[in-house]
């Protein structure tokens, strides 16, 4: 059936795991970037209450094990008659987003404060609002500082998706375990997923270094 119809059950499972890992990474990275940008802006420009709230968020989620956080969402989202969620992907995406978002917040914050505050004054003096100054003047400059550490965070995120297996999501690592038990202790699935992770992380690392060069400008 379909594209993978000719493959055996293990290969199909493997491909499913591969796409689960990609889905987790893409979805969590997207939301972590949104969370991080908003939280970092609030951390830099918000009032004292907002600022300490964001600080609390960052410190809490950076200093708690990711697996514990994921299990927490898995139980929190569980229906009344179960003690674990029926939808581990949702729990995993939420967990990975909020966790990675805390790191993104710190990275974006350092990017924002690396931009000369006089740039904002110049933009505001032209009549741009604070948000417009942020969008057109600060963030485009902050991006350049932020790309390398964000690239590293993305690579870390790919690797962290492996922890999602701990809450029953069928990601690559989980799949390797299933196949291993089916084939009776065969080690090859682990080698296969190793290569599969590389197909995600190595192009990412390459893309980051390319982007870094393209965005570079003399200050």
């Amino acid at each position: 059936m379909g594209l993978f119809g000719g493959l055996d059950a293990n290969s199909q499972l493997f491909i499913q795991g591969y796409f689960t890992t990609i889905t987790l990474t893409v979805a969590a990275l997207g939301s972590a970037l949104v969370i991080g940008t908003v939280a970092a802006s609030a951390r830099v420009w918000g009032g004292p209450v907002v600022q300490s709230f964001v600080r609390g968020y960052v410190e809490f989620f950076r200093n708690t094990p990711l697996l514990v956080q994921l299990l927490f969402y898995a139980v929190l989202l569980a229906p009344a008659n179960l003690n674990i969620t029926r939808d581990p992907m949702v729990a995993a995406i939420i967990g990975l987003s909020i966790y990675t978002g805390a790191y993104v917040t710190e990275v974006v914050r350092s990017g924002i404060i690396s931009v000369d505050p006089r740039q904002i004054e110049a933009a505001r003096s032209l009549g741009l609002s604070q948000l417009e100054a942020l969008r057109f003047v600060v963030l485009p400059q902050a991006i350049r500082t932020v790309i390398p550490p964000l690239g590293n965070l993305s690579i870390a995120l790919v690797k962290n998706t492996a922890i999602a297996g701990g809450i029953a999501a069928t990601d690559l690592l989980k799949v390797a375990g299933i196949i291993e038990s089916r084939t009776g202790g065969d080690f090859t699935p682990y080698i296969a997923i190793l290569v599969a992770y590389w197909t995600l992380t190595l192009p990412l690392a390459w893309a980051v270094s390319r982007l870094e060069r393209r965005l570079a400008f003399a200050r």
Binding site: D116, R118, Q119, E121, A122, A123, R124, S125, L126, G127, L128, S129, E132, F136, V137, P140, Q141, R144, F217, A218, R219
Partner: protein
């Protein structure tokens, strides 16, 4: 002056007409007779430090006022209060009929009418020269790309660097950067231009090219407040010179009165220190 023909900046009369149409419904019947900038008894403190003490000053429409004074005397703070980069603690500032203490004041709308040129240029390094000039007209004045570009190219022409439109700010000399900064401010067609030591960061050979642009602007009727120690500029262009010291306005006079016959002892001492070299 010869610049005048070369550099025809929009005359203030036209600007008034434009704004009156643009702000139909908001009645400011007295704008035509009131000064462009009125500061009355302005105080500004930073913590316990008093940066401005009961500063009162009027700048008329089309008037050029040069502000001088030692470092730390509050010159920048005064300029920054006029476009609300700083908020006065007490006293009142009225700009083109707008009370800056009014809680309903739209600061973005106020700032559209006030161009600012900083000592450190503050061009946006991630944009080309043309993009620097087009950003605010497009985002704030809602001009379309073609209109913003036409306006930007016209102003680059006027400040004498049309060929640099696609350069990055960092590829320009200081004098060129400052002229771009002036053009960027003028792209918003402001009614007032504030200059905060526009030539202090420049190598001596580049000062004249920037002052020439400012002089042309003054001759074409722009209302200007200029913090500068370029005494040649003050003598030639200023309608009045203001001397500030320790947050206070010590003396105000026409350049002739001011330089030949200052009244205050503090003014005399300061003029001696700067005119010596």
């Amino acid at each position: 002056m010869g610049f005048r023909a070369l550099l025809a900046f929009p005359a203030p009369m036209n600007q008034d007409a434009r704004t009156d149409i643009g702000s139909a419904g908001v009645s400011r019947p007295d704008t035509a007779v009131r000064p462009m900038i009125e500061a009355r008894g302005v105080d500004k403190r930073f913590g316990s430090f008093q940066a401005l003490r009961r500063v009162s000053l009027e700048v008329g429409r089309g008037e050029v006022v040069v502000v001088i004074g030692p470092s730390g005397s509050g010159k920048s703070t005064l300029l920054r209060c006029v476009n609300r980069l700083e908020t006065a603690d007490s006293g009142e500032i009225v700009v083109d009929g707008r009370k800056l203490s009014d809680p309903r004041l739209d600061v973005n709308e106020l700032r559209r009418e006030i161009g600012v040129v900083f000592q450190s240029f503050n061009l946006f390094p991630h944009m080309t020269v043309l993009q620097n000039l087009m950003l605010a007209p497009m985002r704030v004045r809602k001009l379309d790309r073609a209109a913003a570009e036409a306006r930007a190219r016209k102003l680059l022409d006027k400040v004498g660097i049309p060929e640099k439109s696609d350069a990055r700010p960092t590829q320009l000399s200081g004098g060129q950067q400052q002229r771009v900064a002036i053009a960027r401010a003028l792209c918003m067609e402001p009614k007032i231009m504030l200059f905060d030591e526009p030539t202090s960061a420049l190598d001596p050979e580049m000062i004249k090219e920037v002052l020439d642009v400012m002089m042309a602007l003054a001759h074409d009727g722009m209302t200007m407040m200029v913090v500068s120690h370029e005494m040649g500029f003050a003598r030639e262009v200023a309608d009045r010179v203001v001397f500030m010291d320790q947050g206070e306005i010590v003396e105000v006079g026409t350049p002739a009165e001011f330089f030949q016959d200052p009244e205050q002892e503090r003014t005399k001492r300061f003029l001696n220190t700067i005119l010596r070299h």
